[in-house]
Amino acid sequence: MTEQVENLIRKDYSAGFHTNIESDTLKPGLDEGVVRFISAKKEEPEWMLEWRLKAFRAWQEMEEPTWAHVHYPTINFQALSYYSAPKSMADKPKSLAEVDPELLDMYAKLGIPLHEQEALAGVAVDAVIDSVSVVTTYRAKLEEAGVIFCPISEAIKRFPELVRKYLGTVVPQKDNFYAALNSAVFSDGSFVYIPKGTRCPMELSTYFRINEMNTGQFERTLIVADEGSYVSYLEGCTAPMRDENQLHAAVVELVALDDAQIKYSTVQNWYPGDKEGKGGIYNFVTKRGICHRNARISWTQVETGSAITWKYPSCILKGDNSVGEFYSVALTNNFQQADTGTKMIHIGKNTRSTIVAKGISAGRSQSAYRGLVRINAGAEGARNYTQCDSLLIGDRCGAHTFPYIESKNSSAQIEHEATTSKVSDDQLFLCQQRGLDAEKAVSMIVNGFCREVFKELPMEFAVEAGKLLEVSLEGSVG
């Protein structure tokens, strides 16, 4: 089977193209001057600059973490450029009609619905190209409901009190090496605020795209769901093909106040590198949410892209009766490496968490699940259920599981289940004997394996995720 698997996995990256948009790019290197440049370029208030500088100084003292089960050449942070904006932004497009047609064309290639169709789909899109949010649609309609959904650069100017109150409260500047870097040089990202008792009238969606040669991208997203509110947020990513490895270090902070609910779904499809392991995105992400009383945060992610993934969307269950969920599909192929999982920190009483992690490894890739379930002394009656399944395709890939459980409260209930299986020759043969080609068969088997996670995704994302797995697995059967 292996050879067949190999052939199927080999398929060109369909999002691999490069759009020619003139860019306003800062030359490589990072020092205080660069931080000041970025802040000035974005016309930020003084407090924001100070916040960035504090992070930068902390970052200078920090060491790059090496504990993850991933291997890559040392990154020269001075060889990267830390600011890039599409040039056409200087003219500030007021509507889609004013937007660079090449940009629109690129969105079209990616199938991002930026026009009227999305009204029907009920999705508002805040598109981020490199470092600047270019078009934000339907913001007015959202603002009618009192919902704020805008680029974080804009929020810093328009809603400074809100941003100051919450920024860095879930992921502090010094949290880790990459979070500190992000805090110093973050380019843009999204800001969401859902007022008390409000159910966000539509699913919020952001597509990120890396488009400049050799530019790191550092999004910063902050979502605040005020008491009793609800929001579902969709994050989707894809990047054009290139040779150089690109660094990506995003930070996402979620704040769910009392009785609030945040559902955060991600489909990540950045360039994974070629069949020989050349190129691809280095993805070092810090995502974390805090749940106050009776609040709930659900992370659902489908990760198929990037050469290196280092990502642990986590929940701090601070309030009593709060709930944290993590549903993940991580697929690696060729020479991709993923070290991903979650942390569930139980602080409040009767807090509950669920972890369902599905790892699929094909080609020569390595996939690791790393998870921490911590029950603090005061977390009376806390419960966790963890299910961790690995699926291997072929015999040259690896799957690893690193579960950590720390319980300081004897009333806690913690369950952990783990399985490892292979797409067997017999399963493949059964499918082929029934008339399915091997590629379709593997994609069907893998989709079946991921079913529990896919059903947590919003409908349109679930379809996209299924397709994405199919594309990512092409060439993986043998």
Binding site: L430, C431, Q432, G435, L436, N447, G448
Partner: protein
């Protein structure tokens, strides 16, 4: 329908089929019997193209096409169906989804339009009842948590939906109680229409009480050593295989 000429095949370096020849005409039911290790299951696996089964020489024509040149899925779409002795589970892939994809592939090959989901579901529900499977099985993962008998009935249901030209049943009777055996046999008999052909591979005569063959072949040491009518099966039941193995050697 199917013409096998001097077929030689090996598995893991061992010669299993030796100069096997067999001709199956439309509408015929051929039973292949024989002792353990005679190569009975190998025949079905070779014909369906299972990896690991190497054809060293010989020729197989199926619907006048060179079968051995076709990919596994092409053979299937062409109308060759193998009912497995040990059907595997595919967790999380619903039976319905799996069957629809299979039937779509076969229909596409035949130049027929896809059935709508609605029509297909209706058809699948009706078919499941014919093999005494609760339609709820359609929503479950393929063979996931099915009992041995349910798996075999699921195979027959797949066969009915795919409407193949040639059905190869590989020891479908193994591990079945008498009730399940009758359900399976009734399913097969209902599909006998004078055009569709069957190769029934079995160790025991019992199945042939229900699926009455036109020909019975005895396979020993990789070749057909004796061919007869349905009475031969009874004779084998009484006398065993040893006398024939001597003949074949």
């Amino acid at each position: 329908m199917l013409e096998i000429h001097n077929l030689n095949a090996r598995v893991e370096g061992a010669d299993i089929l030796r100069n096997l020849s067999l001709s199956v005409k439309p509408g015929e039911v051929h039973a292949i019997m024989g002792p353990n290790g005679a190569g009975k299951s190998t025949l079905g696996n070779v014909l369906s193209g299972r990896p690991g089964y190497e054809v060293t020489s010989g020729e197989v024509l199926f619907n006048s096409k060179n079968l051995l040149e076709l990919e596994i899925e092409e053979r299937a779409r062409e109308g060759l169906f193998l009912a497995f002795q040990y059907p595997v589970e595919i967790p999380g892939v619903t039976n319905m989804e799996f069957l629809k994809a299979s039937v779509d592939a076969r229909r596409k090959h035949l130049g027929l339009p896809d059935l709508s989901s609605f029509d297909f579901m209706k058809l699948a529900r009706e078919t499941s009842k014919k093999v005494s499977l609760d339609p709820a099985f359609l929503k479950r993962g393929v063979n996931e948590g099915f009992s041995g008998g349910e798996k075999k009935r699921n195979e027959i249901m797949q066969m009915m939906l795919l409407e193949p030209n040639l059905c190869i049943l590989d020891e479908t009777d193994s591990g079945l109680d008498i009730d399940a055996l009758q359900v399976v046999a009734a399913g097969v008999n209902a599909m006998r229409d004078g055009k569709r052909s069957f190769i029934v591979v079995t160790h025991y005569q019992r199945l042939l009480d229900y699926i009455v063959p036109d020909f019975v072949h005895v396979l020993a040491a990789g070749r057909i050593v004796k061919t007869g009518g349905k009475d031969l099966a009874l004779e084998l039941e009484a006398k065993g295989y040893a006398w024939l193995e001597d003949e074949g050697a």
